[in-house]
C-alpha cells in the first residue's frame, strides 16, 4: 500500500500534485477532482445517481484539510467541500 508523502496544490489551485512513498508522483487537475468528487453530492448513493458536473474548467482548489489518516478534504472555490479523497481514490483518479 503506497502512502502519500507530499500533497501540493499549485498553479493557482488548478493542479494537485501528490507524491507517494513508492516514488510515484501523480498530477490531477482541479477540474478532474471537482467533477469526480467522491462526495454524495456528485456520486449520489448508487452508480445510477451519479451526476455529471460540467462547467468546472476554471475551478481552483482553495483549501486542503487532512481527514484522519486516510484522506484529504478538498475545498474548491465554487464552494464544494464535501468530497473526501482517500489515498486510494487519488491514485485511482490518476489512472
Amino acid at each position: 500500500m503506497s502512502w502519500p508523502t507530499d500533497i501540493v496544490a499549485m498553479d493557482k489551485g488548478r493542479t494537485l500534485e501528490v507524491a507517494f512513498d513508492d516514488g510515484k508522483v501523480i498530477r490531477l487537475t482541479a477540474e478532474k477532482l471537482r467533477v469526480e468528487s467522491p462526495s454524495a453530492e456528485v456520486q449520489g448513493h448508487s452508480p445510477n445517481q451519479k451526476r455529471t458536473v460540467v462547467g468546472k474548467e476554471n475551478v481552483a482548489i482553495v483549501g486542503i484539510e487532512p481527514v484522519g489518516n486516510y484522506a484529504i478534504k478538498i475545498v474548491f472555490d465554487d464552494g464544494h467541500d464535501t468530497g473526501l479523497y482517500s489515498w486510494d481514490y487519488l491514485r485511482k483518479l490518476a489512472g
Partner: protein, 375 residues
C-alpha cells in the same frame, strides 16, 4: 481586475487576531486568491478562539467587498496548525455555529501525543473493562494517560473508575477539567448526565458532543489518550477516525464465532480508514471454577488468537472470565490498580505492554503527508 496589494491595503484597517497589529502585519492572512473579481482569503487563528474571531472575519470580508471592482469576498478562519493549510475554514465562513457536515478537520489534540481506540464489533465483550484496565496498565508503565469515554449511549467509565462527581470548569470558563483516579484522567458524558438517565440523541448530536468531550477538555500533557468506543461500525467510529489522527486501534473480542464475525468487521473498518491495528485482545477467554478449579471455555477458546494470526495483526493476550474482575470493576476498582499482583491484573499488564511496544515501534503508522498550497 483587483490586485493583491489593493486587498492588503484594504485589510490594513482591520485589527488582526491579537487586536493590535493590523491583519497584513499580523502575518495571519494566507491563501489570497482572486478569481473573476471574487476574492478568497484565509486568516489563521487559534481554533479555541474561533468564536471571538468571528467579528474580525466579518470585518475583513466587508473591507474586501468595499474595494471598487470586487464582486464578492469570502474570508475563512483557519486553524493555526502546520497540518491545516490554505483556505481551510476552521469556523465555517457562512454557517457560523452550524454543525459542519464532516465535523472538524482532523487537527491533532494539543498536548496529546497519541490517541488509540479500543473497539469491538459486538457489544458486551468487555471492551470498556479492557479499556479501563489498559489505561491504568499504561499508566503503571510510566506513561501519562487519559481516557475518553466515546460510548455516549452507554458510558461505563464513571462506574469503572469509581468517579461520579461533575467535572469542574477550567480557568477560561469554557473547557472542562477531566476527573482523575488511579493516575488516569477521565472524561465521560456520564459525568454530565444523571446515572441511569438515557441519552436519546440522533447522530449529529452525538458527533458534536463527542467533539466537545474530545476538544473542550483540558487534557494537559498526555502520552496516550485511550478512547473507549461504542460497539459497532457507525457514526462515532467514523467520526473519531476522521476528526483526529488515530495512532492505532485495539480490538476486543470474546472467542466465540458470533463475536469474531463482528470483530472482523471492526478490523476491516479500521483498515479502510488506514488506522493501524495494535492488536486483538481475547476477553472472557476461559473460566476457572473458584470451587473445583476446573477450567471451562465458556465462549470457546483461542478464537481471537487464530483470527489475529489469519489477519496478520498482533495478538495482545487473553483475559479470563473472572469474578474478581467483575466485582472490582463494578466497584470502580480496576484490578490492575487494586490487585496488581493478581493473575487478572498481570494479564491486563501484559496487554498494556504489548500496546506500549506497538506504539513505540510505530505499529505501521505512517507520518501524515505534508500539505502545501503554492501560489
Amino acid at each position: 481586475m483587483v490586485s493583491r496589494d489593493e486587498i492588503m491595503a484594504a485589510l490594513a484597517g482591520v485589527p488582526g487576531p491579537d487586536g493590535r497589529a493590523s491583519l497584513p502585519d499580523s502575518g495571519a492572512v494566507s491563501g489570497v486568491t482572486i478569481r473573476d473579481d471574487k476574492v478568497f482569503a484565509a486568516i489563521a487563528i487559534d481554533p479555541a478562539r474561533a468564536k471571538a474571531m468571528e467579528p474580525m472575519r466579518a470585518e475583513a470580508e466587508a473591507a474586501i467587498r468595499a474595494i471598487p471592482g470586487v464582486k464578492g469576498a469570502v474570508v475563512t478562519l483557519t486553524a493555526e496548525t502546520a497540518r491545516s493549510v490554505g483556505g481551510a475554514p476552521a469556523g465555517h465562513a457562512h454557517g457560523g455555529d452550524a454543525p459542519r457536515r464532516h465535523g472538524r478537520p482532523s487537527e491533532p489534540l494539543p498536548g496529546v501525543k497519541r490517541i488509540i481506540a479500543v473497539a469491538s464489533g459486538k457489544g458486551g465483550v468487555g471492551k470498556s473493562t479492557v479499556a479501563c484496565n489498559l489505561a491504568v496498565g499504561l499508566q503503571k508503565l510510566g506513561l501519562k494517560v487519559g481516557v475518553l469515554d466515546a460510548d455516549l449511549f452507554g458510558p461505563s467509565m464513571p462506574k469503572l473508575f469509581g468517579l461520579n462527581s461533575k467535572p469542574g470548569l477550567a480557568p477560561d470558563g469554557k473547557k472542562l477539567v477531566p476527573l482523575e483516579n488511579y493516575g488516569v484522567k477521565v472524561m465521560s458524558i456520564g459525568f454530565l448526565v444523571e446515572e441511569g438517565a438515557p441519552v436519546v440523541w440522533r447522530g449529529p448530536m452525538v458527533i458534536s458532543a463527542l467533539n466537545q468531550l474530545l476538544r473542550e477538555v483540558v487534557w494537559g500533557e498526555l502520552e496516550v489518550l485511550v478512547v473507549d468506543m461504542p460497539p459497532g461500525t457507525g457514526d462515532t467510529q467514523l467520526s473519531m477516525a476522521q476528526n483526529v489522527p488515530l495512532a492505532g486501534a485495539v480490538i476486543v473480542s470474546t472467542p466465540q464465532d458470533l463475536a469474531l464475525i463482528d470483530a472482523r468487521r471492526g478490523i476491516a473498518m479500521f483498515n479502510q480508514v488506514k488506522v493501524p491495528l495494535l492488536g486483538v485482545v481475547e476477553n472472557m477467554s476461559y473460566f476457572v471454577c473458584p470451587h473445583c478449579g476446573e477450567r471451562t471455555d465458556v465462549f470457546s477458546h483461542g478464537g481471537a488468537r487464530k483470527e489475529a494470526q489469519k489477519l496478520g495483526v498482533p495478538f495482545l493476550g487473553e483475559v479470563p472470565l473472572d469474578i474478581a474482575i467483575r466485582l472490582n470493576s463494578d466497584d470502580g476498582r480496576p484490578v490492575v490498580a487494586t490487585m496488581p499482583e493478581g493473575a487478572q491484573a498481570l494479564a491486563f499488564l501484559a496487554i498494556a505492554r504489548g500496546v506500549a511496544d506497538g506504539l513505540a515501534a510505530g505499529a505501521g503508522a505512517k507520518p501524515a503527508p505534508r500539505i502545501r498550497i503554492l501560489d
